[in-house]
């Protein structure tokens, strides 16, 4: 009896450990390195790129996938030998992954996502000879290249689209977490609405306060907020709420014809279900792939100094999508606004007034 118990507990322990191991072990290093194996010059082939994803990793059909796409692009043009990709399964993994890459001789090392701010600071300070790069956050060190986006400019364009398309003159904004970063979306969006429809009002609401990051993963709350907005007469809602956004799309489906949603980060029309697609007017796009590709390209060109690169409309770092064809009639007006922003004729605010 006692022996079978001990055996059982051993089995339970082993299976639990192997389960955990399996859950954490989705680090992939089989990337697009084979796509550009034998071409280009040999001195470039010494670049060992280390890419540390945020939670979700390659295959998240969003932020991380966009970064992976940039890596693949760079790999095919530069012929990178076996870039290493790691994705964390919990918050503490970020620093460990960066250290692992640094110890493995990878250079440059890119941390994807704002959550890497602290860990990049720590590891970059300890490894001054390695070039690091961040995305969506700024680390002020001589060996860190920071990639930030002009989210307000992309948001301005989708705001302008909303202003042109609204019939109720009531427009909504749902932010995931009330951070400075997400406020940039709100500021640009509101300015865009006011540009094309000065008498429209924008109702803005955040899911959680700064510090509580569940707001990016709570479709239920986003749906409740959006439903209340639609019931109050709002006809177009823009979200900057990451994984909570599907809740907005569901609320638009439930609210019926004439109620629209605007996606964020990637062209969300492409990954939405058919019933949701009928309500996705456009998406504000952040081209993380451009940031990753340019970072690797710059490193290959010998540019290793610390700096902050702003990926704006001019650099093609942000934009809007036209999938679904719902805004085909206004793209010329939007592109006109885009040119004005690039030319500096329109200044888009970065914080809500």
């Amino acid at each position: 009896m006692k022996r079978t118990r001990r055996l059982l507990s051993l089995v339970a322990l082993v299976s639990a450990v192997s389960l955990l191991g399996a859950a954490c072990g989705d680090d992939t290093d089989d990337t697009g390195s084979d796509t550009g194996g034998g071409d280009t010059t040999e001195q470039k082939s010494e670049i060992k790129v280390g890419l540390a994803y945020d939670i979700g990793g390659r295959g998240d059909k969003s932020f991380n996938d966009s970064a992976a796409e940039g890596l693949d692009e760079a790999a095919s043009t530069l012929g990178l030998p076996a870039p290493k990709e790691l994705s964390p399964s919990k918050d503490e993994d970020r620093e460990a992954n960066l250290k692992l890459l640094a110890e493995g001789g990878f250079n440059p090392i890119i941390g994807v996502g704002f959550a890497y701010a602290d860990s990049v600071t720590l590891v970059a300070e300890a490894n001054p000879d390695i070039t690091f790069a961040t995305i969506d956050t700024v680390v002020d060190l001589p060996n860190v290249r920071n990639n930030v986006f002009a989210e307000q400019e992309g948001s301005f364009l989708v705001g302008a689209a909303a202003g042109l398309k609204t019939s109720s003159k009531k427009i909504g904004f749902i932010g995931g977490v009330e951070t400075e970063l997400i406020k940039k979306f709100e500021a640009g969006f509101v300015a865009g609405v006011k540009q094309t429809s000065p008498d429209s009002t924008v109702e803005a609401k955040y899911i959680t306060p700064d510090g509580d990051f569940t707001g990016f993963n709570d479709p239920a709350k986003a749906k409740e907020i959006a439903a209340a907005m639609y019931e109050g007469g709002v006809d177009i809602i823009f979200h900057a709420a990451g994984g909570s956004g599907t809740g907005l799309f569901d609320a638009a489906v439930a609210a019926g014809d004439g109620k629209w949603a605007i996606g964020v980060d990637s062209d969300q029309y492409l990954n939405a279900s058919p019933e949701q697609q009928k309500h996705i007017l456009t998406s504000m796009i952040k081209r993380v792939n451009v940031a990753v590709r340019d970072t690797i390209q710059a490193f290959a060109d010998g540019d290793t100094e610390g700096k902050t690169v702003v990926l704006d409309l001019k650099a093609d770092g942000v934009g809007y999508s036209t999938s679904g064809g719902y805004i085909d009639d206004i793209t010329s007006q939007l592109d006109e606004l885009k040119d004005k922003i690039i030319a500096g004729e329109i200044e888009v605010p970065t914080s809500p007034s």
Binding site: C24, G59, S89, T214, N217, A220, K221, K223, E224, A228
Partner: protein, 427 residues
């Protein structure tokens, strides 16, 4: 005391939600409940009329409160089943995560009702794991629970990579949208008929109309299923032999054993039922409140459910009241955050009522403390025009604090909760 299956009226009653009323000894239970509900509604109505915050009792807010209460209430019910049989279940969150994953998987592959069933099965799996660890191997309940909170999300991530990575709309952290949905029902006539009444914003009448409309408009069949489960669980625990034995084990397993109760088997039953309830809550979250599984979606609702169970004194009625309270404050914050400052006024009025009772009972120290708190709330209401968003997020927590402070503290956990049990080792 729990060994006698006396259906004492007090056991059926939610804990006093508005303080003093619950202590009236003269009235039968259902009458006290009616008095509490009508009184609470009257106070809410008064607050609404004074503050003009019509969101307080609107159909939208009440409907949201009902919806949002379901996952918390189901997790709490899971807590009751486990703790009533003597097993601390801090793993509810992990079981709920399993419920969200299996629920979304079932809803995506086979349809939403199958999803709910699969979610329940997923939760049961977590419960079974907890039972094996705590009942068979006598692992410390907290340690096993924490382990389940780690294993649950890990397993969900692992399965997501297998099941969703290649699907359109799915990824390692989320499932594709479910196919089909669980129907909402609206009672014909009532909802539209009472709308004009609600829109008049009269004292009390419009509030009743708003509440009735909220409870009869677009209510998901799954919400009704949850209510049925709650009532059935209540019946099972207090009116059947199984329930009596289960609760007896939670109080004193060795006494139960000496009377021939199969303690180990019933402990297993209780903990698995606990996982099933948590799984239902998780599946409701991913199928009804959202349409996908998303990593981190539960956001601590399992723990809130556990807190609600304690708040409800380990009883389904009190649990339901607590869950509705959480759901209400969540719904109000999400749907009508401009109405949140009116809650200051509500708190002030509640404090005044409690202080009056304290004075009547000659408890002057308590009365002065409560009146001071009430005065602070009143000042808060008069000085704050519009609550900054950053403060309105705190609504659920502040409401809980206030209610816990104003309601009586007579909570009693099951006596043998958390203690190891070995068959035949009575001492």
């Amino acid at each position: 005391m729990t060994l006698t299956a006396s259906p004492a009226p007090a056991e059926q009653l939610p804990p006093p939600a508005t303080g003093p009323v619950g202590r009236w000894p003269g009235l039968p239970a259902w009458q006290r409940t009616v008095v509490v509900v009508v009184g609470a509604l009257a106070v809410m109505s008064l607050v609404r009329v004074i503050s003009g915050a019509n969101g307080l009792t609107s159909q939208g807010t009440i409907g949201a409160a009902l919806r949002l209460a379901v996952p918390i209430g189901m997790a709490g019910l899971g807590g009751i089943f486990a703790e009533r049989v003597g097993i601390v279940n801090i793993g509810l969150e992990g079981m709920m995560v399993l419920g969200t994953w299996f629920g979304a998987y079932g809803a995506y592959e086979f349809g939403p009702w199958w999803g709910l069933l699969l979610g329940v099965a997923g939760g049961a799996l977590g419960g079974l794991l907890h039972a094996i660890a705590t009942v068979t191997f006598n692992v410390d309940h907290i340690i096993s629970g924490v382990a389940i909170n780690i294993v649950g999300p890990g397993l969900a991530r692992f399965l997501s990579v297998i099941a969703y990575d290649a699907e359109s709309g799915g990824s390692a952290t989320q499932s594709p949208r479910r196919s089909g949905e669980i129907a909402d029902i609206t009672v014909p006539g009532i909802s539209s008929g009472l709308k004009s009444l609600e829109d008049r914003h009269w004292f009390f009448v419009s509030d009743v109309a708003g509440v009735v409309r909220g409870l009869t408009t677009s209510v998901s069949l799954a919400t009704i299923a949850a209510a049925v489960i709650l009532v059935a669980a209540s019946f099972l625990l207090w009116r059947t032999r199984f329930g009596l034995r289960l609760r007896a084990i939670g109080e004193n397993p060795y006494s139960a054993e000496s009377l021939g109760v199969p303690v180990l088997r019933i402990k297993y039953g209780g903990v698995v039922l606990s996982g099933m309830c948590a799984g239902f809550g998780g599946a409701f979250l991913s199928i009804v409140l959202a349409s996908i599984y998303r990593e981190g979606q539960t956001g601590g609702k399992g723990f809130i459910g556990l807190a609600t169970m304690i708040f409800g004194n380990w009883r389904p009625g009190g649990l339901a009241a607590g869950a509705l309270l959480f759901g209400y404050s969540d719904g109000l914050q999400l749907r009508a955050s401009s109405a949140v400052p009116a809650l200051f006024l509500l708190a002030a009025i509640l404090c005044a009522l409690v202080a009056a009772v304290d004075v009547a009972r000659k408890r002057f120290v308590a009365a002065s403390i409560v009146s001071a708190a009430g005065a602070m709330f009143l000042i808060g209401y008069l000085t704050v025009d519009e609550l900054a968003d950053s403060l309105s997020y705190l609504t659920p927590y502040v409401v809980t604090l206030v209610v816990l402070a104003t309601s009586s503290q007579r909570l009693r956990p099951p006596a043998a909760e958390g203690q190891p049990y070995r068959r035949g080792e009575a001492h």
